[in-house]
Symmetry: C2
Subunit: 233 residues, 2 copies
Amino acid sequence: MSTPGRGLHGQVLDTLGPDITAGKYPPGSVLRTDELAQRFEVSRSVMREAVRVLESMHLVESRRRVGVTVLPECEWNVYDPQVIRWRLAGADRPRQLRSLTVLRSAVEPVAAGLAARHATSEQCAELTECALGMVANSRGHKLEGYLFHDVAFHRVILTASGNEMFARLGDVVAEVLAGRTHHDVMFEDPDPAAVTLHVQVAEAVRERDAERAERLTREITVGALQELDILAP
Amino acid sequence: MSTPGRGLHGQVLDTLGPDITAGKYPPGSVLRTDELAQRFEVSRSVMREAVRVLESMHLVESRRRVGVTVLPECEWNVYDPQVIRWRLAGADRPRQLRSLTVLRSAVEPVAAGLAARHATSEQCAELTECALGMVANSRGHKLEGYLFHDVAFHRVILTASGNEMFARLGDVVAEVLAGRTHHDVMFEDPDPAAVTLHVQVAEAVRERDAERAERLTREITVGALQELDILAP
DNA sequence: GGGAACAAAAAGTCAGATTTATTTGTCACA
DNA sequence: TGTGACAAATAAATCTGACTTTTTGTTCCC
């Protein structure tokens, strides 16, 4: 996944990024460039490049005479795919998954509604194909095959919405779905009701029924929220 | 706004970033570090830092023996606040505003529903205060005062939702609202119906009525969509 | 006790040398 | 003619050391 170690500075980030997002250095901690360069056995220039990237993610702030200060969590660019991966790999993975699932529950229904209006006929076909793939893999512990088509399905919806911001959430959704299948408990076959809903969403989009596509997708995301016990009592 | 020119590499980014996001260098264009360093009259090290930042935003890709390649728009980290600002400052500002407004319409209603469940009493008080501020500035061409309270209102909603991903959209919403007031036509006083809706949302949150808060906020965002002529025929 | 001058610390900048990976072209051999 | 290996060219990647600038804290004098 992603691009591990594209250059020395990338390798430094692969350790330093997760360390920071994991809270190893509490907000306000001060690091010094020279010290870091020594620790990672790289030149100062390489270390500076790494710091610049962390700075662009608002994970740290570099100030003269002070050093590289770790910023509080509320400043981080939590939409940066790299930051998301680092956080998902760390200890607060569960909390991160909850945040992302709530985001999904807000975005995907609207995206589905837009997809019903803007999807090309190719995208409609893709969608149907994905839904059928999900059905075909919904019984008999074929979880990987199911996941593959599930991810593809939601990617098509987000892309077909015609909104670039939605489209870019495809990777996030993929990460969340993969996380649910691999890390969390999902020994059993997927919920048949969920499978049916996906098929119906594909139908609704094909029939240009925006309202129905939105409502059905909302049911899917409500299910995702319930799996994580996120809901009102 | 933001932090212009934090170091030489920042100044380089202030021109190179907008240039790239404006499409001045079409996707696939190849830039060379040395050439750029000469053009901007900075050392190669500074140029490299700038390139690293652009690379972390997925605006460009740097490869040996090839150079710095500009990536297609679909690769960009469109949620990066810096990228958003650059694009809003450029020629496709209208398209960007539409994307962001659609995102708002998806996120804010859900955020309001969550805020009704999780808002602290201080946040409820803030919300009421903001709504009252909007009312007070809703007549007599007090657009700046209105904008100030409007931005604050939506920030509180997003923060009070308790979801960090939502909270981080505060700046985006601020940008969109400011854009509407300053750039687009808004000579007249704001729509009285919108003002009333804000007051009612504050009420709903205070009374912990999640469903009503969500529904009312959806009405607000539908209004925002209509202003930009984004809606079904 | 307050303000100005001074000193130290750390990031910021630059320039040159060197290394490394990738592409591209060439040449020999099948 | 095509294909493989090998060599050269190229531009990024890295390292190093010297120098600059800004900020902060201290000290000294009034």
